[in-house]
């Protein structure tokens, strides 16, 4: 016997329309393949936290229970680039560290996304000096930039949600297309 519903019976809470548009019938739902793949990918991103400095501590606060990145599907953070989707570069990247970021990016498998968290990763931040890389987009292509020094955990979550948007709407053939290859060529990546 079904249990009676106890919660949210009389409230005005409406569920956000989560699913994609499609054609529904008795026992089936037909929609575009890329929409389903996008929906599945965006809600289970596995991030790689590449934390170098202060933004890394704010990332630790984001992963904690107060701000909780896990509710966006990023429960499992991995430290091996071969198993991760999203490279989160948090903190200042010095010129000595630039080749390391590039190598980690190269080891990731397609499809991969990069988020630059913090002012230092986006553009060098307050350190306009001879030893700091003025933004990681000099070595790897970046999808989302999160400004702040350090950005509040809410801002990092906003950045992750924008990544989810990008992931959900990405067309399936993008990674094999000419334009993407051209983008990688401009960074010297084959």
């Amino acid at each position: 016997m079904a249990r009676p519903v106890r919660f949210n019976i009389n409230s005005n809470v409406k569920l956000v329309k989560e699913g994609p548009e499609g054609y529904m019938g008795e026992g089936f739902f037909a929609t575009g393949f890329d929409k389903v793949v996008g929906l599945a990918r965006k809600n289970s991103i596995w991030p790689l936290p590449f934390a170098t400095s202060c933004c890394g501590i704010e990332f630790m606060a984001t992963m904690g229970s107060h701000y909780d990145l896990a509710r966006f599907g990023s429960e499992r953070v991995g430290f091996s680039p071969r198993q991760c989707d999203l490279l989160m570069v948090m903190g200042t990247i010095a010129k000595k560290m630039g080749p390391v970021v590039k190598q980690v990016y190269l080891q990731m498998a397609e499809p991969r996304w990069v988020i630059a968290v913090g002012a230092c990763a986006s553009s060098g931040g307050i350190f306009d000096s001879y030893s700091v890389l003025q933004g990681i987009d000099q070595v790897v292509p970046v999808d989302v930039y999160v400004p702040g020094c350090p950005p509040r955990p809410e801002a990092i979550l906003d950045g992750v949600m924008k990544i989810q948007d990008l992931v959900g709407k990405e067309e399936l053939r993008r990674r094999t297309g000419e334009k993407y290859k051209g983008l990688l060529e401009s960074y010297g990546i084959q």
């Binding site: 010129k95 000595k96 553009s123 060098g124 306009d128 000096s129 001879y130 030893s131 700091v132 003025q134």
Partner: protein
Amino acid sequence: MIKCVSGFRYQDQYMSLTNETIKEKLVAKFSDQVNNFEESFGMLSFEAPKEMNLKVLQFLYDDASLQFRFLTDLCAVHFPDRKDAELSIVYQLHNLKDNVRLRFRVSTPIASPDVFTATKLFESANWMERETYDFYGVNFLGHPNLIRILNVDEMDYFPMRKEFPLEDQTRIDKDDDMFGR
């Protein structure tokens, strides 16, 4: 396991060793080779020729009443206007028993910046001298591993010297006119 001791209470206990005593002892041992005694904000500082830096440090370490056995800091300062004494290497020493600090300077010309290393006496000088070499080009004679530590290995100049700029001159995204350089 842990045991707790009560904290020392401040300078009343330590009036045994004064700056005057230190100065007298140094002058007694090294006569006029130690010079330029100054006292700024309670800390005594003096200079000696660079050939004598180890002798002075050893004396300060061994002497029973001085006992400066803790090297707090080692750094260099660049004075481009002082001919033949452009680089000044500063040792900050600390006597933990009597709680007295001391500053000891040696100068070297920039054309031949060779100074004897203090690593045999203080292990903490190892990386501090590498950092000084990395930033100013001071060549510490006898150092076990004098290579760059903080900057990239391929760097061919010594960035903290006053003639070099702060910013990376090859960057294209920041416009110097707008940034007020």
